[in-house]
């Protein structure tokens, strides 16, 4: 536990701190705006809604963070999400006895798609953008040929999970938080997790340092697929049915990438943190929630989202120039006489 708190402290001092600063500002502004309209932003109902809407995007964003840290992208997530929803709902068909089978089928399929992405990106070395666009299109062909409209039915257990709450917090959100902590530990405590940063920073340097660059790619893409599958299950638990369009309608591919970047990660890879991405999701969710309370036209919501993405990233980009990480700054302090580029100018 101490490692997590240390990790959290480190990230708050770094770029992630800015993300949470922005989040706090957004929440304060949101609270003021809603209060001016005679509503309470922190009402239990609203918090519950906010967390619910965070869960699905959050799961996708956790996976997307890993993939972006690697310097790749995952554009296949909305299709994997839909695939998981139709497979699980189709296998369950409303029967309790099929609960485990439905979940297993959906997650296996989702992880398999992620693994294929990982092979294409890590071993064949196709650009991640194109590889995942390709696999996404292939799945969409399968989905729209075999499924028209909603299909299947969630088993009672899954529906129960979808509606259960612990106080004001939905159980699915707790599940997302658990995934988040596990992935955070994976990134900071395991060898593959650290290699993932190295490969994302510079794949050639990582390879020359003796890192097998394919392993992080395989793992990151597989986890991304798996978490998109879990997100599909969460959607089925809420809707009660599977739908081939649920992922594409949500626009989870581009929104999740945007959330990761708003969370302070660099698209080229190697820099970013899972806690930053969490901040990114919460910023999105808070703004959505405020606009929901204000009953903003849904199309204008898109406009606001677009503006926020650009403004947020512009603010970070100013600061995101190559800075010396804290651990190297300490070394520099110890040897201040060493000439630097700046000194020679």
């Amino acid at each position: 536990m101490s490692t997590i708190s240390k990790d959290l402290k480190n990230s708050l001092l770094s770029s992630t701190g800015t993300v949470y600063l922005v989040l706090i500002l957004v929440v304060i502004a949101g609270a003021c705006i809603t209060a001016a309209n005679g509503r309470n932003f922190f009402a239990p109902g609203n918090i519950s809604d906010l967390l619910t809407s965070t869960t699905v995007l959050g799961l996708v964003v956790i996976g997307q963070t890993l993939v972006i840290l690697l310097g790749s992208l995952d554009l296949s997530v909305p299709f994997v999400l839909s695939l998981s929803s139709v497979l699980s709902a189709g296998v369950m068909a409303g029967q309790s006895t099929n609960f485990a089978a439905g979940i297993a089928t959906a997650l296996l399929a989702a992880a398999a798609v992620g693994l294929v992405n990982g092979v294409l990106v890590g071993l064949v070395k196709i650009n991640g953008f194109i590889a995942t666009l390709g696999t996404g299109l292939i799945i969409s062909g399968y989905l729209f040929t075999n499924y028209r409209g909603t299909t299947g039915k969630a088993s009672p257990e899954l529906t129960a999970i979808g509606t259960a709450t612990l106080g004001v917090i939905p159980v699915t959100t707790i599940g997302m938080a658990v995934c988040l902590v596990i992935v955070a530990l994976f990134l900071s405590k395991t060898r593959t997790g650290l290699h993932l940063y190295a490969v994302g920073g510079d794949a050639n340097v990582a390879t020359m340092s003796g890192i097998r660059s394919a392993v992080p790619a395989l793992v990151a893409h597989t986890i991304s697929g798996l978490l998109a599958g879990v997100a599909g299950l969460v959607i089925v638990s809420r809707l009660g049915v599977g739908s081939p369009e649920v992922g594409t309608q949500g626009g989870y591919d581009l929104l999740s990438i945007a959330a990761v970047v708003v969370g302070g990660a660099i698209l080229a890879g190697g820099k970013g943190s899972i806690w930053g991405s969490l901040g990114g999701i919460l910023i999105f969710a808070s703004i959505d929630s405020v606009m929901g309370i204000m009953q903003v036209n849904p199309y204008l919501k898109e406009v606001v989202r677009g503006l926020i993405i650009i403004v947020a990233v512009a603010v970070y980009a100013r600061r995101n120039q190559i800075k010396i990480p804290a651990r190297f700054a300490a070394i520099q302090k110890a040897a201040p006489t060493r000439p630097t580029n700046g000194a020679t100018r």
């Binding site: 696999t135 292939i138 062909g141 199309y299 100013r318």
Partner: protein, 359 residues
């Protein structure tokens, strides 16, 4: 020893053209030819006068969008806003022109101005504010399509004058040999010619340079931000022209351009243009667009359900990019095997010494 990499006496054009066929940018023409032959097999009418030019004309908007995307990708960026620009422009044309043919010219001018404005915004946000273009153009997409949907309420609206729709639909009848020549084919030829010319101008060379190595171009004294911004402007103008043609085919709807940005990127990448910039030929990108369209037409004639089209498209881009990479990997793998075999045969104890002996 000096190596001269660039000499003034290049190989003759036919030799270069044949050699280029083994590169991705050249091989796309062979693929296109093969697909056209297959298409002609399914649809013998294709060889009749007028049919081929109609086919080229119908697919012209996608090729034009690919030309626009090419400039941006060659500079090492993405333009995800092309689809939203197309939709916004189509809606703009549909609502402003109405049934008054006198409005056509002013509205076209306005559309071009709007296109340039979007390009400038994309370009400046990307270059001066240093927002990655993926995010910039995603943001402008959300903003543009949000406004488009807000203004139309999400439903098709407006019906521009027939004279305006004729730009995309109509053509010149009774041309000898070819038969019917759609205006869109003429527009495409003009644009492709202009694009080839532009890429041979200093601007085009600099654009390639910026995509390949921005620092070098900056040290040469050029302004990378302005070069990149112009690439975005060209891309938005291309989307605008595609929109003008698409009004003729598709009518006015806020979803008309949806997905075009990804089709364009796919076409450009199929044409052997490197994502990340600095490599690729513009006509190969156009050929890439026609490969995609021919594929769709073949599937159509072969009676494959239309829902499978994206799957085939996805498979072809993965294969087209993956197979050459696997091919090069195969060679590397062979070398590795050979090296392993040779070290196994002669365990070489002197090897470390030979390294230390080097000065």
């Amino acid at each position: 020893m000096t190596t001269i990499r660039y000499t003034t006496n290049r190989l003759p054009f036919p030799t270069r053209a044949i050699r280029s066929l083994s590169t991705p940018g050249g091989a796309i023409y062979l693929l296109l030819l093969a697909l056209l032959v297959i298409l002609a097999f399914y649809n013998p009418g294709l060889s009749e006068p007028g049919q081929l030019s109609r086919f080229i004309g119908r697919s012209a908007p996608i090729a034009i969008v690919a030309i626009g995307q090419y400039f941006v990708i060659a500079a090492g960026e993405f333009d995800l806003s092309m689809g939203a620009v197309i939709s916004a422009q189509v809606v703009l044309a549909g609502n402003l022109i109405g049934q008054d043919p006198a409005q056509i010219l002013p509205v076209i001018v306005l559309m071009i101005v709007v296109g340039i404005a979007v390009g400038v915004v994309n370009g400046l946000l990307t270059t001066l504010l240093r927002v990655p273009s993926f995010i910039t153009t995603l943001g402008t997409t959300l903003i543009l399509s949000g406004f488009t949907f807000y203004l139309t309420g999400g439903a098709p609206s407006g019906n521009p004058a027939d004279a305006f729709r004729a730009i995309g639909r109509g053509g010149i009848q009774n041309v000898p040999v070819i038969g019917f020549v759609p205006y869109s084919v003429l527009v495409l030829i003009a644009l492709a010619g202009a694009a080839v010319w532009l890429m041979r101008r200093p601007f085009g060379r600099m654009l390639m340079g910026v995509g390949d190595n921005q620092s070098t171009i900056a040290l040469l004294g050029a302004a990378p931000w302005w070069i990149r911004t112009r690439a975005f402007i060209l891309s938005s103008i291309a989307a605008t022209i595609a929109a003008i043609l698409m009004v003729g085919y598709a009518g006015v709807s806020p979803v008309v351009g949806q997905g075009y940005e990804f089709i364009a990127i796919t076409a450009v990448v199929l044409g052997g243009v490197a994502l990340g910039g600095g490599r690729g030929a513009i006509l190969s990108a156009v050929a890439g667009a026609y490969v995609l369209e021919t594929l769709v037409a073949i599937l159509n004639f072969a009676g494959v359900e239309s829902t499978w089209r994206p799957a085939v498209q996805g498979a072809i881009i993965v294969l087209a990019l993956g197979l050459p990479l696997l091919w090069t990997k195969r060679k590397a793998f062979k070398i590795l095997l050979r090296r392993k075999a040779s070290t196994a045969k002669t365990p070489n104890p002197t090897a470390p010494q030979s390294i230390t002996e080097k000065p």
